[in-house]
Subunit: 305 residues, 5 copies
Amino acid sequence: MVTDRVKQILSWYSSDSVGVKTNLARLLNHGSLAGTGKLVILPVDQGFEHGPARSFAPNPPAYDPDYHFQLGIDSGCNAYAAPLGSLEASADKFAGQIPLILKLNNSDTLSKMEDPCSAVTASVKDAVRLGCSAIGYTIYPGSGARNVMYEELRELVLEAKEYGLPSVVWAYPRGALSKDGETAIDVVAYAAQISCQLGAHVVKVKPPKDFIEQPEAKKVFEKYGIATKTMADRIRHVIQGAFNGKRIVIFSGGEAKGTAELLEEVRGIAAGGAFGSIMGRNAFQRPRAEALKLLGDVMDIYRKA
Amino acid sequence: MVTDRVKQILSWYSSDSVGVKTNLARLLNHGSLAGTGKLVILPVDQGFEHGPARSFAPNPPAYDPDYHFQLGIDSGCNAYAAPLGSLEASADKFAGQIPLILKLNNSDTLSKMEDPCSAVTASVKDAVRLGCSAIGYTIYPGSGARNVMYEELRELVLEAKEYGLPSVVWAYPRGALSKDGETAIDVVAYAAQISCQLGAHVVKVKPPKDFIEQPEAKKVFEKYGIATKTMADRIRHVIQGAFNGKRIVIFSGGEAKGTAELLEEVRGIAAGGAFGSIMGRNAFQRPRAEALKLLGDVMDIYRKA
Amino acid sequence: MVTDRVKQILSWYSSDSVGVKTNLARLLNHGSLAGTGKLVILPVDQGFEHGPARSFAPNPPAYDPDYHFQLGIDSGCNAYAAPLGSLEASADKFAGQIPLILKLNNSDTLSKMEDPCSAVTASVKDAVRLGCSAIGYTIYPGSGARNVMYEELRELVLEAKEYGLPSVVWAYPRGALSKDGETAIDVVAYAAQISCQLGAHVVKVKPPKDFIEQPEAKKVFEKYGIATKTMADRIRHVIQGAFNGKRIVIFSGGEAKGTAELLEEVRGIAAGGAFGSIMGRNAFQRPRAEALKLLGDVMDIYRKA
Amino acid sequence: MVTDRVKQILSWYSSDSVGVKTNLARLLNHGSLAGTGKLVILPVDQGFEHGPARSFAPNPPAYDPDYHFQLGIDSGCNAYAAPLGSLEASADKFAGQIPLILKLNNSDTLSKMEDPCSAVTASVKDAVRLGCSAIGYTIYPGSGARNVMYEELRELVLEAKEYGLPSVVWAYPRGALSKDGETAIDVVAYAAQISCQLGAHVVKVKPPKDFIEQPEAKKVFEKYGIATKTMADRIRHVIQGAFNGKRIVIFSGGEAKGTAELLEEVRGIAAGGAFGSIMGRNAFQRPRAEALKLLGDVMDIYRKA
Amino acid sequence: MVTDRVKQILSWYSSDSVGVKTNLARLLNHGSLAGTGKLVILPVDQGFEHGPARSFAPNPPAYDPDYHFQLGIDSGCNAYAAPLGSLEASADKFAGQIPLILKLNNSDTLSKMEDPCSAVTASVKDAVRLGCSAIGYTIYPGSGARNVMYEELRELVLEAKEYGLPSVVWAYPRGALSKDGETAIDVVAYAAQISCQLGAHVVKVKPPKDFIEQPEAKKVFEKYGIATKTMADRIRHVIQGAFNGKRIVIFSGGEAKGTAELLEEVRGIAAGGAFGSIMGRNAFQRPRAEALKLLGDVMDIYRKA
């Protein structure tokens, strides 16, 4: 049964096929938040992005790919997102127990590339073969390799549609930006807009900071009094910039931090109208019991938002 | 019913298929200017090109993709042009109410690229799927990435023809040019000529300024006394340079400005024999009522031209 | 009816299909020089290469694509060569009245590229669709982008053969050469040889000057006493270097100049055994009557050669 | 007959086709170590990588491709891995006598490339044609050409799966790393993790040294007390980082060295839980009798591990 | 009838199709040396590589493509190798009279490229269309464009196999090498090994000099006492490095030189176990009678070797 809220959300994707909308509904109808229109997703790509020790030494059972499937299932997450190898290792064992998102591109921290650009490490056909409900792709707006990424994404989104799969876009500005600029409110909102224009069904950005990177944008924020002081203010602007709230936008938890601080941040995100959170390191680097508790608390915040 | 003027225009595209000519006729036969051979088109790609705040904060309802479809329909524009995401969000809701042009490539202002080149962010198949009447593509004559763009365009024009879709080319010179040179009369006319040679059915350029960039061209302008003093003079040269008036050439309004100044500019453009205007920021950044009034006034100028 | 001379020429292309030879025969059997084995071709790509004012202001009717078709037909040229847009604009109107050569790649003078390389702006399929009798392609021997061009040409020649179309190669040395070296006799002969090796059916080079660019070549020219003093001498060397006269080689008129000077040059070219001339600016930048007279005089020279 | 241990190993590849698992079983069920879940593989790509004299002069019979097939067979290795030419030369003669791994990319030491990247010198179809049981591919994590390699590998892994062939990945970090960093424990474990994420069925790395390259990793190794002192400690960490032991990871012998030292190293590798060794120069550069003895001793160590 | 020696040679290519072996047999069974297992091939690509005057002025009849076919036939060469244009010009006329090798890539000396890399100027399909018995391809081991060439070759070899055509690889080290290093014995032997590994059926290298380029190789040559003093010594090492003599390796004559010196060199090459010579400039730049005599003498040397 599909709730009215889920029906409303699906109505914003009316030019998509029934197949794509069905998989979008699968993401929205699974786990603790099923039917609320909110999502909490467990992503685990840190093994690829930071190496195994930095990712899993804090909680050694997490070295095992099975661990994350089970954590995603038991915590009631809407979906589990990971690179090819992690899904291949355990997808058969947990088939049908949680919607999967195959992250099609990934980066590591061993090489230094002039223009940041992840490698495409899996294909849409892999996602189909592994029973996934969506594909995931990371763009770096601001990179000199922008065209490579946007054009790869265009092709992957189109191919995924042919298989009835929606696309989740991770938008991490970097490249021709200051360090602060990577999470500046104007830049994060811009990255969300770009993702929507590129055909993303779900957009994932970092929680924006009260800082404006682009001089041209600064003038506009001041002239029109766009509020950026509280997290809720800033989230509201991002959501508005993502087709006036008609695209699903979720937020990461950022670097691992204390539980209280983390929940406070999530409350701000939820208050601003976010569709949910995507929470990796903050979940799987804690002992399992603590992770389950934390994810449950986060879901509670969204359920009551 | 097709007017004699529209029939005459279509006759210049006689080597094209009936399918392409039918879609060209759709653009010419829709809205307030239907049948006059003139066009006013609403383009909204600023969200992608400049970010959401700079584009929509002046008139917040414009954050919503539906807004622009409705504005295009209610103002009697010939067509609405936008990137993939914007069309996907609302095309189903407004199906059949206004001809659509899918802008296949787009650029953002977050990255700094040595050789300016937009990313191809949508495909011809997307245009077909969304019920569009034409594709749009931006070239930057003068860029070191010229070959990439001209060759992409060649392939897209050819593919679009297979689906009966005409091509609208946005020609914005930049790269190995002075800032003034980007809108110099010799350069704008040259950009229009290049677009026609590349197979564009409709060409969109900026209103040229009374300035000549290329020394070789300057000699010719002087020797043959080509008039460039008034806007009408310059438009006349551009139109002549676009196959002696046998290709549809329309002009942008440029940066947002006062209404009187804007209409004065349009009068000059129309007097020079332009086929119409494409007006984005000047329209959607005003309150809706003002925008409708402005677009109506612009159409009046062309109707009487 | 095919003359003995045309039969002889066709015999040099004996590994080609009947289809290719038929189109080659069409070029040789049209216009004033039909059957003589000589060709005068009208090429108009200056609008793309130099911009509209520099190309057409000297003779404004030439802004119109129809003008050149009519000029080519009325003057009795063997063929008319132009880029995509120009042919698309008028090919239907003049269908069957003159053999057409679609120039598949073109360059403009707005951008400065490190390694000169034209953009491929039309396809073999366009040539077929527009009823052309051959494709045209420009290479720049000496450019650092040599491989890109030679490899594109290889693919286009092969594809054209599948449609029974011969290939005309414009060979303009530039890049790692001195300004004089671009028309040096050793370089022009080398460029003709390269074109033949790449599979060109017809080669177009500039009239060579009495200058030798390459030190290694200079030694050989001196040792073996290769004559380079008169135009006829130099043409004779180029023709010899193009498979000992078994490939059709024609020469451009170069920059616009006085009639007497021009005809004198053509006489030298013809005396050296050239297969003909390709004459653009010198024809279409004059008033129509003068152009018809000039082209007629040029054809007379070849008829008597 | 498949042993319980082999069944267990195959169970970790449960999302793969029966075809892929069958070929994986072939590798595990051949030679002296058949059924033990351990592997010793003979790789001979030094001819390509270092030239013939440096590779084969120490033991001249090894110039002949037949030599290595016979050595692999007689020593009881699980498989023989080599580039295209070596396999083509002898595969027909030894058909069915030993599982083959076709190394699809190779590098030579004649050219100096800024971003290290092997050339793809054979195809999956070659592997099929030559009756191979797996493909091999080398990545250089840390190289600026990382994306080229990861993306080639993705395509080759996917294509190999279509033919039922598993993939063996040689992971040699280099590029933006110190010389010591190339075999640092954090880097080797990271390279193994990346290989697993890219879909490798078997991973081949070098024995790691007691050195940590990345400052961020160093903090974590210290904070969580990850043991790196003995070879067994380090191997254990690599195996854990490769999906908690659920992917086959084997180790090279490195540069040619004394027998005692070599066997001592293998004992440490085996004690850490490695799945086996891949031993090239240390085997084929010795006289045949010595090589057979050495490989037998190595297999003994693994059999007893 | 196939001799025992030819049967033996074919046996080294046992993983190839009957089609490929048949064409290899055609090369071995044609001309004066038919059945001996030795080959003398006439290659004429100098027109492309050095220009027409430098190539053909010493013997003007050689400007004509027919000349070389006739020379190859009358001298009893095993095959004639040339670029596309040369073969197209005369292949039909001489069909069936001599096996042909189409050189698929070529370079000219007009442009200066940072990383040496020939352009692919013909295709396997051209070779089939022109009735060729093999394809030819040049690699430059040592060039920074190594990967481009090796990967092109891989694809061409594979495609050629589909048509039953063997591959002849010209291996000319250059790039990151000293001038002497290009013909150093270690480098030439390495280039031959690489060619074999890439799947070449026939390898063509330059006669090596008594010089060692690579320090690592120098140590090995000294340690194992590899003889390099006489030409025969060096040829022996190259042949050994080419799969222990199980691949056909032939040698060029290098720059044009005196007859006595040339024959002396060939005697050394033959004494070292070479499979033959490939002789271009030294043949076609002499008067025809002298060329026939020279080629006959060379064949005699191999017949008696």
